[in-house]
Amino acid sequence: MKKYEIIILLLLLHIHIQCIAQLNIVGSVISIDGECIMGASIKVYDAQQALMAYAISNAKGRYLVTLNDTTDSYITITCSSLGHKNATRKIHTDSISQSIDFILHQSDIEIKEVVVKAPAIRTIGDTIQYNVGSFMSSTDRNIEDVIKRLPGIQVEENGQIFYNGESINKFYIEDLDLLGGRYTIATRNISPKDIASISIYENHQSKQVLKEITTSDKAALNLKLKDNKKLKPIGYAQIGGGYGDEINWLAELFGMIISPTNQTIATVKGNNSGNSYIPETQILTSTNTHNTISEDIFTQYPFGEASIPDNRYLRNQSATTTLNTLFKVNKNSSISAYIDYTYDANHYNNNVITRYISDNNNTIQVIENNHSQLKNHIANIRVKYENNSNKLYVLEELKINGKINDNLYNVANNTNIKQSLNTNNYNITNDFTTIIRNNNNLYEIKSLVCFSNTPRNYIDVTNTNKEEFVFRQTAEGLAFYTKESTSFSWLLGHNSQLGSDITFEARYDEFYSKHFQSDNISNNENRNKGYKIITSIVPFYQFKNEHITWRTEIPVRMYNIGYEDILNSSDYILNKPFIDVRSSINFNFWGHIKSVFTIGREHNIGDIDNIIINPINTTYRQQIVMGAGIIGERVNNYTSFTATYRNSLSGFFGSLRAMYNIIKSNTISSSYISSQNSTYSSINTSNKGSNASIILNISKNKRSWNTTFSLSGSAIYLRRQTYRQNEMLNIKSQIYSIAADIYSTFWEDRISANINCRYGTSIQYANEMNTIIDELTMSCNITLSPIKNWDIFGKLYFNLPEPSISTMLNNTFIDCGTRYKFNKITFELTGSNLTNKHIYTYTQISNYDQYIYSFSLRPIEILFSVRYDF
């Protein structure tokens, strides 16, 4: 071929390629009846079946597809339209010159109907939203039953909520804090049918003024109501009656109204069917209350408390009334108040066998048969004003609390003893905080003032055989506490912050205890008073970017302590500074892995109980000596690591926590056991102890199976020293536990099942003596809904103390019931303890000593109730 012919050929080839690069395909789409089909899709695929271009036919059925850059020798064109069969053509790119028309044949519409359930879990930034409808079962009585099932969330027996192993720091309803931490009032009374979604706010900073500056390791929980449940009263009224070994009754009224500017919750409840209402009015988030030293000297349960739910063994008369209300003053401000009163009168029988190790490894065994009668009156009042805006935070909160206990214990051992406890305790707390944000600067002022008084607190012991008074032990106290602080910081550039907190804390205590014997000779008296002032400067530096927050603080604290033992005319003075350190790094990795590493050193310096050196009887045979006669100094060196992971799309949540502490102290605990009494005290000796723990929580929600799996495990290692019978003991303890939980619904939600299994073991080495105690607990709850509005439910609880020794001694409980709903009325019949088990037994070890408890249980009981939901 001649040269110029080659050039012409190449030129033509180039032009041909250029033409292919800009190719227009036109045509029509019509039906077999000749009608134009508009809106048909025409798609062009290359030789590798990749979509190159497309067009939509217009009202006249015409289309135009423009192709770019193809070197393929052929293309595939597909024409599709709803209600017609697809048509496909394979065309050589050379022959695209005429119009490519499609004639489509009619066909039945083959579109599958699809309903997507609302996503069970959605993540928007740091907020995880759980759709209640996806987790709710028809058998749920309250929103707590749903919350327990949410992956990543755990709920304790007392109602406290944990997210990935950490307790929540706030509980909101519609993003407002009505209940001030007493959220069991809401979780155990609000119907799940009234709630649209539950949100978790991770790393929740409740103060707007601190957002983007400081975060919290804790999460908050928010309930969002369904729209049609707002602006009107909702709630329920329930009455019930039944029989066990006495007549049982139940009467409850719960009402709530939620609107954008007001929230109000009120309850009036009473029962003797085993449910105490004290957990409903307990503050489960952090609290600023400071009590007197004497308030908790005498425990409510000196002869043991069962590790099963209270309603298995407590015979109760309980009543409560609460009123909680919140008004929004404007977009950022609100005023809230609550008032509540709870009355609890419980009695129970139990038996305790205590085996004390005394001299030369001999055992002293004490057997006590007890009948305990407890009466509690608790009242709380709180008023709060809060302004929470981006530039200003103001909090003014006043709380008043009163507690009266009037308990009686009848103890049968070698002699018959009657022990009574009478306590009055009052507490007033005022909390004021203001934080101002001015451009890049923060200014903070805080003032906390608490006043506590325990004007009456004593136990009386009487020998009922001889009908003679044995002794009275009083322990009264008074405390005044104030904490004033201010803080300022500067933002250095975009990422760094430098600042300092200055705090002044002062506490004044008075304590008086006296032991009166039948011969009127008073001995073992304590009369102490004094102050403790801590002045702190805590400079800090913080670096924060998208993935890392690093904060280091160096607290410098000046302690000024002056305690006085009035009876002995002794003064205990300490004026000394202490320097601590704390550094933490928060990492936010991709894929929602967050971790926190913390290292630090902290001093804890004595309290007035360090100088209370004369014995105080806490029961008829137990004595404590609170102090060693020296101001206590304890240094805690610690490190901890926490990692959390969540993938809400797959419903997987996990957390791992590891912690290690070394504690040095200048006092050590001591105990001396004799056949007559047990004395627990402190002595002035340096000692060291350590503890390490690993806690793992995993939960996974498998939507396609309607199942949530949870697994948790912990390993705790403790080393410490103590004195027993004047001899030093080195105690090492290892505590392991593993628990698995499965919740599932099947057969179109007609059956729901929850299975829980927990195994725990405690191993203690104390010098040459080893003690091992283990326990296995399993529970299974099943609910069946054979027809709409009718449920049949059953619960099996199985507990095997020390399965490694014997499987014969087990505790098995079976409860069951049935429920039928007709419009807004629900009829329920329940049977508890159907095996009529009389005794619950378990063993504990503490230091050297072994405690075997047996509790007399509530017998088989039937309760019928009617509930009206409005």
């Binding site: 809106g39 497309y54 709803l82 109907e113």
Partner: protein, 276 residues
């Protein structure tokens, strides 16, 4: 005597007025009819999640696309449900009380977009404060960039496409269902759009249900003011951000003494989908 008659008439009038007022709930409801434009064979329900950047809140709205032969309608799901409920009743009269119960249950709103596939135009029926508006525009020939990524949405394999439209950057996922349609004003892809979101995730439309029912659809026969897209959007933004300014003239609430009652400034939940 004359005075007694007048008093008797007045009392009768008052009592009959009171009786009428008290009987209003039991009276037959007068329901604004629909102007039917087409019959749909396919419906697609979308969850429309909106983020208000000023209030820093998310809200979900449920909207339904009804696709007919020549028209399609995109509107509030509550109004669809209410219309379905009323259609079930057929000719059975319904009282005002019953209608109120249904309206409270479904919380309908009558704003919608009706596309005319033949004329390639659409009409937006909207509401600002107490007035209803309509504007018309051409269905925009949105230019999409196609991508290779794919995922399952609402049970269908969907493919990715991106575009810039009305001031926002959009990511859409279209299926093999041969319908060039989607939520709001979207379309012009070779398959039904089952998900579309803007790059800032301030507007996210996700299909959660596809079904096939034969239903008539149209728009409510209200009195509409004709307007343009720009004017409508400007007024809507003003109303949603400063609704207190609309309470003027005869609509101004007054105190007992006749003096104007001050209306608190309030921002309603809103994020304009069109930025230009």
């Amino acid at each position: 005597m004359r005075k007694l008659v007048i008093i008797a008439v007045i009392f009768t009038t008052i009592s009959s007025y009171a009786q009428n007022w008290g009987n209003f709930g039991k009276q037959q409801a007068s329901i604004t009819p629909n102007v039917i434009v087409d019959n749909s064979e396919l419906q697609c329900l979308y969850q429309h999640t909106v983020y208000d950047t000023i209030l820093a809140e998310h809200k979900d709205f449920y909207e339904i696309l009804e696709i007919g032969k020549y028209y399609s309608k995109y509107g509030n799901y509550g109004s669809y449900q209410l219309d379905s409920a009323l259609n079930e009743l057929g000719d059975t009269p319904i009282t005002n009380d019953d209608f109120k119960i249904l309206a409270n249950k479904y919380d309908p709103s009558w704003e919608c977009i009706i596309k005319n596939i033949q004329t390639e135009s659409l009409k937006v029926y909207g509401k600002i404060f107490t007035d209803r508006y309509v504007y018309e525009e051409e269905i925009e020939n949105i230019k999409w960039d196609l991508h290779k990524e794919h995922q399952i949405i609402c049970g269908y394999e969907c493919y990715k496409a991106t575009t810039t439209f009305r001031g926002r950057e959009w990511i859409a996922w279209y299926s093999d269902i041969p319908l060039s349609n989607g939520p709001w004003k979207f379309g012009n892809l070779p398959g039904l759009i089952l998900k579309v979101e803007d790059s800032k995730q301030e507007h996210v439309f996700t299909a959660i249900m596809i079904k096939r029912d034969q239903t008539d659809f149209g728009y409510k026969k209200f009195q509409y003011f004709k307007t343009t897209r720009q004017k409508y959007n400007e007024s809507l933004i003003e109303y949603m951000n400063e609704s207190h300014k609309f309470f003027t003239g005869d609509l101004q609430p007054r105190n007992v003494d006749g003096s104007p009652l001050k209306i608190q400034k309030r921002k309603r939940f809103f994020n304009s989908i069109e930025l230009e």
